[in-house]
């Protein structure tokens, strides 16, 4: 029994306001015209241009071929998000499995080799990475978009911690039950990691979803446009002499928030629980 003081709510409300008001303003601003936003800044009240903006953003056939609509970008963003999240989970679970459950030379070396990838993000090694991709003939492909981003340790690190907390006896029981490494992995470990996978999924989904620079460099085909790229291409003119279509950028941003937020809301319970379980 801990007494809850109004003060606690006050802090939470302030924190929530600090975090959410900007997002709310993005939403509200998306219903005003670009010129209004350009001249007056962000809005906290709704405007009258919302329907037009969202209709345009969703159905406007942009790009050279006229195929680049909000829906196409949404599709590609989803492919990026899912592809990355799933790829990440598969790769890092397998690697973490090998590192934790096998007795083999170099396990520590391998762990540090993988962990070191936290030290240098893609942005910093982007040019050489591009050359590698082109040598592998992976430009303009979903594989090329997704796979290089997988070279990072976060997921492996998470799963390693989680596997360490799985009771030893489960492996022992499974071995006595005649399960080999693959069967144990598929039959026992994967189902046990469900909540952890959900947690990682959200984090990674958002990461993949929000990629910009790499897709820009990697693809030359309009059919690979993502929402993030749509937003950036609207906004990039602000450095020059034009008025960017702020309203459309905000509308795209709001649309871009919907799937991740939906994922967060749906998986929230699992999410928090999943992250917790590693600490046991």
């Amino acid at each position: 029994m801990q007494k809850i003081k109004p003060f606690d709510h006050l802090i939470l409300i302030l924190g929530t306001l600090f975090l959410c008001v900007p997002v709310l303003m993005a939403l509200m601003s998306s219903t005003h015209t670009a010129v209004d936003i350009h001249s007056n800044g962000l809005f906290i009240t709704p405007g009258s241009n919302g329907y037009a903006t969202y209709e345009k953003v969703l159905t406007h056939r942009g790009g050279f071929t006229g195929d680049v609509t909000g829906l196409l970008m949404l599709k590609n963003s989803l492919i990026m998000g899912f592809g990355f999240a799933i790829g990440k989970i598969v790769l890092s679970m397998m690697a973490a499995y090998a590192l934790v459950y096998f007795r083999f030379r170099f396990a520590t070396v391998l762990f540090w080799m993988i962990f070191a990838t936290l030290l240098l993000p893609l942005e910093v090694r982007i040019m050489p990475s591009y050359q590698v991709m082109s040598q592998l003939h992976l430009l303009n492909s979903y594989t090329g978009l997704i796979v290089p981003l997988l070279a990072s340790a976060t997921g492996t690190f998470f799963f390693r911690q989680f596997f360490k907390s799985v009771p030893d006896e489960l492996l022992e029981a499974a071995r006595i039950d005649g399960a080999g490494p693959w069967k144990f992995f598929i039959d026992v470990l994967v189902p046990l990691s469900k909540t952890m996978m959900a947690a990682i999924f959200i984090i990674m989904f958002i990461y993949g979803w929000n990629q910009y620079l790499w897709p820009l460099l990697m693809t030359t085909d309009e059919s690979f446009y993502t929402l993030m790229r749509g937003i950036k291409s609207i906004l990039q003119v602000w450095v020059g002499s034009q008025i960017p279509d702020y309203n459309e950028a905000f509308a795209l941003a709001v649309l871009a928030m919907v799937p991740p937020v939906a994922v967060v809301v749906i998986f929230q319970r699992m999410f928090i629980k999943g992250l917790t379980e590693s600490d046991k």
Binding site: P167, E169, L170, E172, A173, A174, R175, I176, D177, G178, A179, K183, D187, V188, P191, L192, K194
Partner: protein
């Protein structure tokens, strides 16, 4: 079903810790062997070597006629029940039991029959579709048992399977295990550090101490003729009181009182007395100052001091702390141990009731 032979078995962990050494045990088909000993004495290590979960660094282990030292756990035809059950939390009770069989490519129909049979035996029928988390501790325990039985292995291995249960459940579960093993007739090796459990379950007890076998024998034999002070103190509740005594000219002396005549050379000895072998006498006997009393309902355990050595006596009387009482025992029920080595001394004759 098979015999189990441990031949000079030893284990040195890679850090250099010698957890088990020179263990020889011969277990006949269908026998129920209980390994007891204090925490850290190597019980689990020994069991896990039999299971194939630890490498055997010395000696040989045979199951039936096969030398299994190099075999994988799955190839040894054994089943194991773990202390914390180690059920697969994501599988139903049915799947938990069936998993080992599936991995052995047992035909579907056969699996179903065996699971149904085990469920009936363990009264788990109505829980077959639940996940472990929806079961009580006792029920989980039975699922773990079920997982072992369906396999119809050559041997069962149990590592403290009851220690997570509460006292009441522990008592009822240990009966069930015993009944089951008798019905199936499967050779079993059972680890516990609860001596009551050990006594009630075992065909033969193996008392381990510091990685070595201290004594092997039927429970009552071990109880009545403990081979050393270690075994004496470990088996029996309340624990046997061990006191310093001396033999002087063929007489066993405790704090200046003659207890019995013994055929042993003069010198210090350790005297073992079980609380239930002692009784109160109105006069004579050895005087004991009552310190405190445990009321257990059925009887009371009186703890007191003889000189400056402590002693426990079972009694139905009405003494209170501070009272001076006199106790006596049948000399046949005295245990003598070598004061230096702690080894049992079997004296050839003892005469008279102690302290006339």
């Amino acid at each position: 079903m098979a015999e189990l032979t441990l031949n000079a078995v030893g284990k040195t962990y890679s850090g250099g810790v010698k957890a088990v050494s020179g263990v020889d045990i011969q277990i006949s088909d269908g026998e129920f062997i209980v390994l007891v000993g204090p925490s850290g004495c190597g019980k689990s290590t020994l069991l896990r070597m039999v299971a194939g979960l630890e490498t055997v660094t010395d000696g040989e282990i045979h199951i039936g006629s096969r030398l299994v030292n190099q075999l994988d756990p799955a190839e040894r035809d054994i089943a194991m029940v773990f202390q914390n059950y180690a059920l697969y939390p994501h599988m139903t009770v049915r799947d938990n039991m069936a998993y080992g069989l599936k991995n052995r490519r047992t035909p579907k129909a056969e699996i179903e029959t065996r699971v149904a049979e085990a469920a009936r035996m363990l009264e788990l029928g109505q829980y077959l579709d639940r996940k472990p988390r929806a079961l009580s501790g006792g029920q989980r325990q039975r699922v773990a048992m079920g997982r072992a039985i369906v396999r119809q292995p050559a041997a069962f291995l149990f590592d403290e399977p009851l220690s997570n249960l509460d006292a009441k459940l522990r008592v009822s579960m240990r009966m069930e295990i015993r009944k089951l093993q008798q019905r199936l007739g499967t050779t079993s090796l059972y680890v516990t550090h609860d001596q009551l459990e050990a006594m009630t379950l075992a065909d033969r007890l193996v008392v381990l101490n510091g990685g070595r076998v201290e004594q092997i024998g039927a429970p009552l034999e071990v109880y009545r003729k403990p081979a050393s002070t270690f075994v004496a103190a470990f088996i029996g509740s309340p624990a046997m009181s061990l006191l310093d005594a001396t033999v002087e000219g063929g007489r066993l002396m405790l704090e200046g009182h003659v207890l019995a005549e013994v055929d042993h050379k003069a010198g210090p000895v350790t005297l073992g007395l079980r609380a239930e072998d002692l009784r109160l006498v109105a006069r004579g006997g050895v005087p004991m100052r009552v310190e405190y009393i445990e009321e257990l309902g059925a009887h009371r355990v009186v703890h007191g001091m003889v000189g400056d050595q402590s002693l426990a006596v079972v009694d139905q009387g009405a003494e209170a702390p501070g009272d001076l009482i006199h106790i006596a025992a049948d000399p046949a029920r005295l245990h003598l141990f070598d004061a230096a080595t702690g080894q049992r001394i079997d004296v050839r004759s003892r005469v008279g009731e102690f302290a006339r």
